[in-house]
Amino acid sequence: MRLIWATRGRTWGFQFRRTGGFDDPLPEYEKVFSGLDEPALCRRVGEMVALRFPDPEGRKDAAGRIIPHDFIVFSPTADEIDSLEDGLALVWDEVKDEYAQAWDVPRPPLPQG
């Protein structure tokens, strides 16, 4: 599954955990997420889908804020997503184990492509 995934851990700060194959995923991320403030959203942008949802297991950072997960989902997975529920079911299943291992370590492993 090709994804850009930005999130944070309990103590480590906001960063990309999946880069979607980009050397610098930030410009791509901002094309989609710039100006979007909602805590949960599902938005189709061309062939991609932007997804944001609070951590499904309610995990928080050290300051007590619920951790957000931001994704850009690329085709073909994006074609199967029409709602936040679709997105959450497909994408969270892909990353939840990886996140469970990383969120409470002092330094997370290097991001994947």
Binding site: R8, F14, Q15, D24, P25, P27, E30, A63, G64, R65
Partner: protein
Amino acid sequence: MGSGGTLQQEIAVFGESGSGKTVLLSSFYGAAQEPQFVRKSLFRVVADDFGQGARLHQNYLGMKNSAKRPEITRFSATAHSFSIKLKDGDAKNNKGKPFDALRLIWHDYPGEWFEQGVSGPEEAKRRVATFRSLLGSDVALLLVDGQRLLDNSGEEERYLKSLLANVKNALLVLKDDLLEDGQPLVEFPRIWIMALSKADLLPEMNVFNFRDLVIEKAREDLEELRNVLEGLVEVSEALSVGEDFMLLSSAKFEVDKIEVTKRVGLDLILPLAATLPFERLARWHELREVPWKVLDGLLMGAGAFAVMLVGKGRRGGIPVKAPGPIGAVVGILGFTALADALNDAARLGSEKLEEIHSEALAQQHFLTATLAEFRLKLNEAEDERVLIRSFG
């Protein structure tokens, strides 16, 4: 210092992720929109960008009405520009004064920038640009997170050392990018205030306890930070690092509610940004023998400010015929007269300030009244053990 008749001050708030930077900014702006503030204050705080202001206000209302914290700041910084607009009637009374308006620039940015690498070249570029802007301020607040002190209770040095080391290292890593041709910076925050954020979590701690904790547990680390800062700035005698302390609480956070009316220290931010630099300049000149001419860039802003309070130099009283705009002030008055005004203004005690305040109000000189009020507020905060200003 800005152009024309506006005195511009930037405030640099240094703090790690989750230390309360966005909450502080939102609370500062949101509280200034409350009817109680608008009714009793001599000025209004207006966001120069309507959209940015609306977002901060929304953050504030979200905390106040729904116990909702602002969204985490991701990957980019925002410079918020606020105009301090005085009550009607001031413009005509301010004709010919060094400045007739105040502006505050406040940068909000991801605290991760102190703690970890960046995601790629674009974020790296932003981090340097933001740090450059931050370092153009006169006053810096270094946030010490009350929650982290509590988490490390009894071993506070673990957190304090890591905080100070992170700030020091971030500056060292960026040093080459921040200095043009390796030349030390003239414009630089010369006053670094240690500010305890989320002070509501430590209700027993007054500002003296806070100072003692920092000095006891992390004096050497503070010294190391100071050494790094000295390496970045020209005339390093004119530098106060960890000599001033304050308490800050943007709101009282409880499990299911956030009481935004329980604030501490937020009303000191404008007074500190606006008046501390000129107070300190006079002391540096006197006690540390820093020559005025090497501080001329700072003196222009500070001197213009002082003229608003005491008039031109030794004459004292309300300025009636001070020249403006700012750019022309130094040319017309010369440094000596400005330096005199600065010295006089820095020495004003509460009684004299009260006098200036009432007289300025009677004459509808709202800017002069506001500046006097700022100084009085700082004096009060010292009495209430919320602020310690350096004696050096």
